[in-house]
Every structure is written in C-alpha cells, then in structure tokens.
Amino acid sequence: MDYPNRFDVIVVGGGHAGTEAALAAARMGVKTLLLTQNIETLGQMSCNPAIGGIGKSHLVKEIDALGGAMALAADRAGIHFRTLNARKGPAVRATRAQADRQLYKHAIRGFLENQPNLQLFQQSVDDLMVTGERVTGVVTSTGLRFLADAVVLTVGTFLGGIIHVGMQKQAGGRAGDAPSNRLAERLRELPFSVGRLKTGTPPRIDGKSVNYAGLEIQAGDTPRPVMSYMGSTADHPAQMNCYITHTNAQTHDIIRGGLDRSPLFTGEIDGIGPRYCPSIEDKVVRFADKDTHQIFIEPEGLNTHELYPNGISTSLPFDVQMELVRSIKGFENAHITRPGYAIEYDFFEPRELKSSLETRHLGGLFFAGQINGTTGYEEAAAQGLIAGINAANLSLEQAPYCPARNEAYIGVLIDDLITMGTKEPYRMFTSRAEYRLILRQDNADRRLTATGRALGLVSEPRWQRYLEKVEAIESRKLHLDKHWSHPGDEAMETLLGQALTREYKLSDLVKRPNVQIDGLLEAVGLDWADTEINDQIEIDLKYAGYIDRQQEEINRVLTQHSVSIPERFSYEGISGLSNEVRQKLEQVRPATIGQATRIAGVTPAAISLLLVFLKKARHSLDDQKSA
C-alpha cells in the first residue's frame, strides 16, 4: 500500500547518523520522516557509552554549532567528564564524556519527538524505489511504500551483519537486533561498490562482582567541562568514577591459548578491522613484547551495575573470554553479563559520493554513517547532519552545503572519505586536519554558527547567545588593544616577574608565553566574567602568528582550489595526462581542483593540465550556449 502522505525527506535508521539527519532536515522546515527498525533503540550507543575524545569532540562541537543534538544529549547524559590534552595546547584539547546509556537515548528521543516537521515510524525498510537514476521512495518489510524527494540511508552495521563469538557466527545488526539482509541484497543489485568491514566490542561485566580494592580510581575533571555551547554543568546528572586495571602475563597466555578458536586468526573474518581499535587478541599477537595492557573500567549508567571494560574488545570463544577476564586484577570473580563479539558488515565505497553525501549513482539518495566506512558515533552524527541538510536542500532546490577542510573537521572527514576512500573503519584524529590550529573545539561556533543560521539550523536562543559571545570577545579585545601598562605598574611587574622597560599594550602582554589572561586581568583590575570568553581572547592573541600563517596558506591556494570541475567532465581528451592519473580522477570525480590535488598520485603537472582543459571546456560550453 502507498502511505497517504508524501514526505520531502525520508531518513532510514535511527542511530547517530539517522537522528541528526532527521533533526537537521526538519529544522530546515521540510516534512521529514524517520523510519527505523525499533523506536526503543533510537540514539542507541552500540558500543562504548562515551561521547567525544580527541578529534571526536571537535566533531561534536561542530555539530552543536550547526544546531545538532549530540552535544546537548551528552550534557544531559554525561556522568563523567574529562578534558584531554589539557596541557598540549588549545587546538588539540578535547572533551570526553562517559554517558549513561539510558539517559542518552532518552534525551535523543525527546529531541526527536518534540521536533516540528518530523514524524517517527517504526518499521524496517527492505527496498528503495527507483525511477531511472533517481530515488523516489522506500518500501518497508510489510510492503508499505513511502514517497519522498530525498532518502537518507543510515543503517549502520546492519547490512549483511554477521556476529562472531569464537567459531560461532550468526546474522545480526548488533547484539540483540536483526540484520537488514533484504535491503543489503537489494543494494548489492544497484551499481554501488560494496566492501566488508569489521569491528568489535568487549564483554560487559556486572559491577557487583568486581573487587575495586586496589584499582586505580579515575575521577572526572574539575572544573568539569561542558559539551554544548548551550550547555552548563547544571544540565549534568550525578557524576561517577572510572577505574583502571591491567592485563597481565597470565591473561596473555590464556589469549594465546585460545587463538586456534579465534575467528580473527583462523580466517573466519575477512572484513578489515580498525588498526587503532584492535581487539585484545590482536594486541597480544602484534605487540608480543608488551606484557601488560591498560583497561579503563567505565560505568554504563547511573541505574545499572553493568560496566564497560574498555580495552578488551574480543571475539574469542566465550569460555576463553571468561577465563581471560577473571585473570585480570579486580575481575577475579567477575560475572560477564554480555559476551564480547565482532561484527562484519557491508559498507559502500565512499568515493562514489559527492561532498553533499548524495550518491553519484542515484540522485536523491544520500548515505551517512557507518555504511560509508566510518566508525564512531561522532563520525556518524557529523555525516548524518550534512546528509540531512543536503536532503532538505535538494527538496528545497537549494545548493548543497559541506564545510571545507579549513572550516571544520566535518569537512576533513567528508573530503577524506570521498577523495581517498578507506580501507579500514575510518575514525577522526586531529592529525588528519592540516589546519589543526584553526579547527579548535573552542571556536567551532565562531567557525560555523553563522552558516548554520543562514541554513535555518540555528535556533533563536542559540543565535542570541552566539552573538553576545562574539560581541564580548570583540569589545574586550578592543579594550586590551587600547589600554597600556606602564613602567612602575607594580601588579603587572610582579606578574611578569620583571620590571617593564617601556609601556606595552595589554594585548601584547597577553601574547607572552608566561602570561595567563586571568592573571593579567587581575593585575590591571579588570573584573571580566565568563572564562570561556577570556580564553577565546587569550587563544586569539597568543596564537595570532600561527593562525595568520595558516590563514595565509589557505588564501594562497583558495582561488585555484575552488575552481569547480563539472560532474561529467571528460578526462579522455586531456593530452599529457598519464593513464594512471586519469583513472584516479575518473574514480573519484573530484568536484573541485582542490579535491583533485588531494588524490594520491595526482601531480602538480596534472593539475596544471586540468586547469588548462577546464578552461577550454568551459569556453566551448559557453560557445555552444550562445550559438
């Protein structure tokens, strides 16, 4: 049967990508439907109950700056907050929150249910409706047909999902959920290139059976960081501790003894797993000389005893899991509540996507999240947001939006995916961002909120708060630029630890490595509230040289890199281009010269040739039009 109402945008999948996609599209004012297998699992964290981390909190704050849900939910659900890399500099500083699973889901579901223009529907999608080279809607497992201008697919690890525990395997989308096999088969019939990836999760442990005596306690940080620009510690629920324990020689012996029944080492699993998130058996085999590995024991929530032992992801048989867990200090009598497992699933070659996350093969169809070869909630949410925005843009007949590499980690993520593709589950790291000093978690709002506002993503309260912040930063900076400190200023000389030999602008004094803005404000008797704003001023001033240099680097290539390449541009006629380079360009089909430069093996000479022939092509096109 045809569902009576037509939608502008349909989002399939209620994970982290799907929920952000649906919320973004609805915020932009288009009629949106979120279709998911099970409304109870909306916003479910399949693995580690934590949001943020290095590179990841950068994404979360960008999503937040663009009006997304993840940071707000993390503040409502966070039971343990930490600032990572506190002393290594503001650009690489990051925020990480352990989240109460239930509270997190609850927060996300609340946002979804209260979002105007958005409807939820529980049903599994089995098929896409396709006319020519366009998607027109989806068909559910009961044969319901929903029509829409655009469809966003965010079905995570569910496509052809196979779960492994030792030599036993079964079909599944994640523990407890059915896989999406019909949809997977159907997608394999369409012209997408499909690959297999693998990821894993550790066994969960009953906290009542753990002996905490002698385990290292890890408390949350004070002052406690906040995830959202709209958040405050008042949003946070009660806080909990984490603990640290270690594997030992005996643990490693047990693991080695079980390798003959490990699907990873017997060749059962052929999906490629992430190198930075190896299973414990992988670690023991690859780094045989290490006799111990660290395990973070993280609470799953306020109202449960379940624990997440971070660091022993495994797909060894259950009997080995039990034995290895019990060899670890504190876990001597531990009871496993859920076995660890590995999961293999389908993903689609992301180089077949445009930067809008629309597929190049089927118009109106967008892919986001794990199905594009990424891993992680934050990576999924970031893509969901962009896909949702662009599905709405398509329906509204507006130009697509994707931030550039120098504007956001989201831009780095998407550009990496569509330009380089990926061989293993892709995770964000700050080292992937060449403009790292500009892309900080503290300035995501200053980078993106104005754009978000123009797109219709940013609510009035967020906008006002942003304007106030920017205004305060500017006026305070001006003040520091206009006021001077003179020789003989006692408080200042005490702060500097030396006499002033001449007068200095306050803003110049802030730039000194040994001066902190708080101390300076105190020395000159300025009582400026809001450390967030003062911190921004300090970073802006102290890093001005570096920031300007990166900006210059960006500007230098901007004109050339923003030259666009038509979607159906023919690389055939370019003399002087090697076959190898031509093939690469045809595979990626870069949208701009900038993107073309980032394809491995595309030389500067090839770029020069491209520019020349692009100009020629553009002119012959103009000639045709005028003829």
Partner: protein, 454 residues
C-alpha cells in the same frame, strides 16, 4: 591590481639562462612581484620602463647589476604583476638571484606555469590549449629528470636520513597528541628535546654542505670515455688546465674515476675521466671499468674518444660499438683524436656530432669547446639542474627554519601542538624532495610502532 590576484601565489623562473657574457632573464609573476621588486631593486620601477639597477642581496650587497622591468597586471604577459630582472652575471649569479627571489616570497614555477597563467588569464588564445599542455608535459618530464640528477649520491642519502628522523619524531609527537590516554607521554620525554636538537644540527650541516655545492651536483657533467690509450686523460687535462689525470703511453693507465670541477666561462662543469673500456682480467681495471659505466649513467655529455691514427678506416664501427655500450645516450659526441699522426679525411654525417682533434698539437680543440659550450650553455639541462637544485635548497631551508621554530615552541611554551605544526611544515617541505607522505601514512606508522587503542 584585482582582488583575486592577491590570492595567487607568486612564481619565479629563469626565462633565459645566461650563457657566456650574455643576458639572463629572471621572471617573477604574481601578487608579490611588486614587493619583491622593492626588496631587490630598492624601489618599484616605473611601469614598463627599463630601470638600470643593482639587484640586492639580503645584506644590501649587490648580487648583480642589470635592468629591472615591472609590468603591472592585468596588462602583462601573464595577466598578473610581472617583474623581470635582466642580469649579466652568468649561471651562478642567476642562480643566486633566483634563490634570493625565492627567499623573499616566491616559489619556483612549475613546468609551463607562466604560460598556463597567461592562458588562464585570457592572455593566450584558447586554441593554444594543446600547445600549453605539451609545454607542461614536456617541461615536467624534463624537471623530473633534473630532480633525479640533483638527487644523487650523498645529498639524496642525507635527505632521506633527515626525512626518516622527522617521521620518527612526528610519530611520537602525533601519537602523544592523538592518543593521550596511552601510557607514555612522549612529549614530556627528554628524548624529544634531544632528537630535535640532533635533527637541527644534521639539517644545518646538510644545508651548509649543499649551499657550498659540496654534495649536490652542480651544473653539467662531462665524461670522457673510450678504449684505452685513446687520449681521454690527455683531453681531460687540457680542459682542466692541470695535470689532473695521469697520462702515459701504456694502455690501461687510468684505472679509477678521476673528477675535476671547472668553470667554462661561468658555466660550472664537472669533468670525469674514466678507465678505458675493454674486456680485462685485471681485477683493479675491471672495477675501474665498472665505475666508468656507472658514471656514464649520470653524464650530461659524453665524449667518446677514438684513436684516429689507429682507426682511420673503421672509426665508424668503433663509434657504433661505443655508442651501443653507453646506450645511445643523448649528449654523446664522437671525438677522433691524434689527427696529427694521421690526417683527417672527409667525415660523412654520422648519428651524433663528430670532431677531429689532436690534443698534443692543439688542433680542432676550439671547435670542440665551442660545441660543448653551445650544447650546455643554453641547454635546458643546466637550467634544469640549477632549478632542481634551487628547489631542493629552498625546501631544505624551509624545513630547517620550521625545525628551529618547533624546538623554540617546545622550550618556551611547552606547546606540543605548535611543535607538531612546525614538524608538519618541515616534513611537507622535505616531501617536496622525497615524495608524498599523507596523514594516513603517518597514522599507519603510528599504529605499527605503538600498541594503540582500547
């Protein structure tokens, strides 16, 4: 000047390399052309008017004198601001001038890049697209060859060693940043300071050696090759003006490679004498012949000497055989020696140039020399080698500055991220010499070096 032009980077190239006493032109195009003019000429020359001036070095001394011309965009050859410096100083001086322009903010132009800019700015007709493409293509092939030439021997070794060290350091620094929950904090480690200091020293040394030309090949290499006793060493000594190589009437006198650097009217030239090519059972001589062959591989010009007094009838067959042995290379010249002992007959056209000379009686040498000068004086090869060397030097300098800055940042601010940024810049500069190295490559190295992840 239009707004967009400020955003294109500024390029420089030697438009015509100076030969003996001729005029050499250096051309600069882009947003910084005017400021570069102010620095090198002392003021901005009036538009399109030839201004005679000194071309200044960083310390204010004159590198050269000549004519400066400034063409403001868009009414210039490329459509951008263009500065032209016409000097008289010969290739070495041109090279210094080029380096100075690079130092103050230009980068060395890619193959065909001036024409490409002219084309993109509507200064060249659209129908010329293919021609421009050819220029870019052939230019980049030549540049690749020059880069290989420049990157030979010790220089290459040193650069790769520096690259390795930077990678090792970056692995530690980046891992400390992206994986702070791992047990070791590499940044706090004293070893990082030590490694940085070591790199700084090694880089400064390589840079100094390179600037002095000690390990980087300069200019053109001329190899003397042929059968024993043909007179190779004698001719080499004639060119160098010294008794560099031993000359005797014994066949097989030269047994090792003998090198001498000279200037031929301002063009730096490396002369390489080699052991006579023949089948030998003598171990020392055999090794000498192996080395001779190796030198032939990197030669720009090969003089194939033949004793004409012995081979006046079959010199062509001899020449063919030698040519086959050196792999029919570009730049081969057949030299028939000892024409004092047997008068030269009519020489039919051959596949490569042929000259008849006598080293002892100083016959035909002026012609040979003139030919060699012509072959190299205005040949793209010299320019190519010069440019490749300048490129490499420039990259090395930038890497060095970044490493120094990085160490300071770590010392004064304990700023890991700024050290990381400087190391990234240093590494990218070195990669211009050694080839692409992506952030993914770096992550790959981190994952294989440390047990990372939970």
């Amino acid at each position: 000047m239009t707004g967009t032009m400020a955003h294109t980077d500024t390029i420089v190239a030697i438009a015509t390399p100076a030969g003996r006493g001729g005029v050499g032109i250096i051309r600069v195009s882009g947003g910084r052309a005017a400021s570069i003019a102010r620095l090198l000429v002392g003021k901005l020359p009036a538009p399109r008017l030839a201004t005679f001036s000194n071309f200044l070095d960083a310390d204010g001394s004159a590198i050269d004198q000549g004519i400066a011309l400034f063409f403001p965009g868009p009414n210039s050859f490329t459509g951008e601001d263009v500065l032209e410096l016409q000097g008289h100083g010969g290739p070495v001086v041109m090279d210094m001038l080029l380096n100075r322009v690079v130092q103050v903010g230009a980068r060395i132009a890619g193959p065909g890049e001036f024409s490409q800019r002219a084309f993109l700015n509507d200064k060249i007709d659209l129908s010329q697209a293919e021609a421009i493409a050819d220029l870019i293509d052939s230019g980049s092939q030549r540049a690749a060859k020059s880069a290989v030439n420049s990157l030979q021997g010790r220089f290459s070794e040193k650069i790769h060693e520096l690259d390795e060290r930077i990678i090792r350091l970056r692995i530690h620094v980046e891992a400390a940043i992206d994986f702070p929950e791992e047990e070791v904090d590499f940044l706090a480690d004293e070893l990082i300071h030590q490694a940085l200091a070591e790199i700084e020293v090694a880089m400064a040394q390589t840079l100094a050696q390179t600037e002095q030309g000690a390990i980087l090949r300069e200019g053109v290499t001329l190899v003397f090759a042929g059968r024993p006793n043909a007179g190779k060493s004698s001719l080499m000594n004639y060119f160098s003006g010294r008794e560099t190589s031993i000359v005797t009437s014994v066949a097989g006198t030269t047994r090792d490679v003998v090198k001498e650097d000279i200037h031929l009217d301002g063009v730096p030239l490396r002369l390489v004498d080699t052991a006579g090519l023949r089948d030998s059972v003598d171990l020392v001589e055999k090794e000498g012949i192996r080395r001779a062959r190796q030198e032939l591989g990197t030669a720009d010009i090969i003089l194939l000497l033949i004793d004409y007094s012995q081979h006046f009838e079959d010199w062509q067959a001899q020449a063919e055989a030698l040519l086959a042995e050196v792999g029919h290379r570009d730049g081969a010249i057949v030299v028939l020696n000892k024409v004092d002992k047997r008068e030269l007959e009519f020489i039919p056209t051959f596949t490569v140039p042929v000259f008849g000379i006598s080293v002892t009686m100083l016959q035909g040498l002026a012609e040979l020399k003139a030919h060699i000068q012509q072959a190299i004086g205005f040949d793209a090869q010299v320019e190519g080698n010069f440019i490749a060397r300048s490129r490499h030097l420039d990259a090395l300098r930038r890497a060095n500055l970044a490493v120094i800055a990085g160490r300071q940042q770590l010392q004064t601010r304990q700023a890991g991220e700024l050290l990381a940024e400087e190391l990234r810049i240093a590494h990218e500069a070195l990669n211009e010499i050694t080839g692409e190295f992506s952030s993914d490559d770096l992550l790959g190295q981190i994952f294989s070096s440390f047990c990372i992840g939970k």
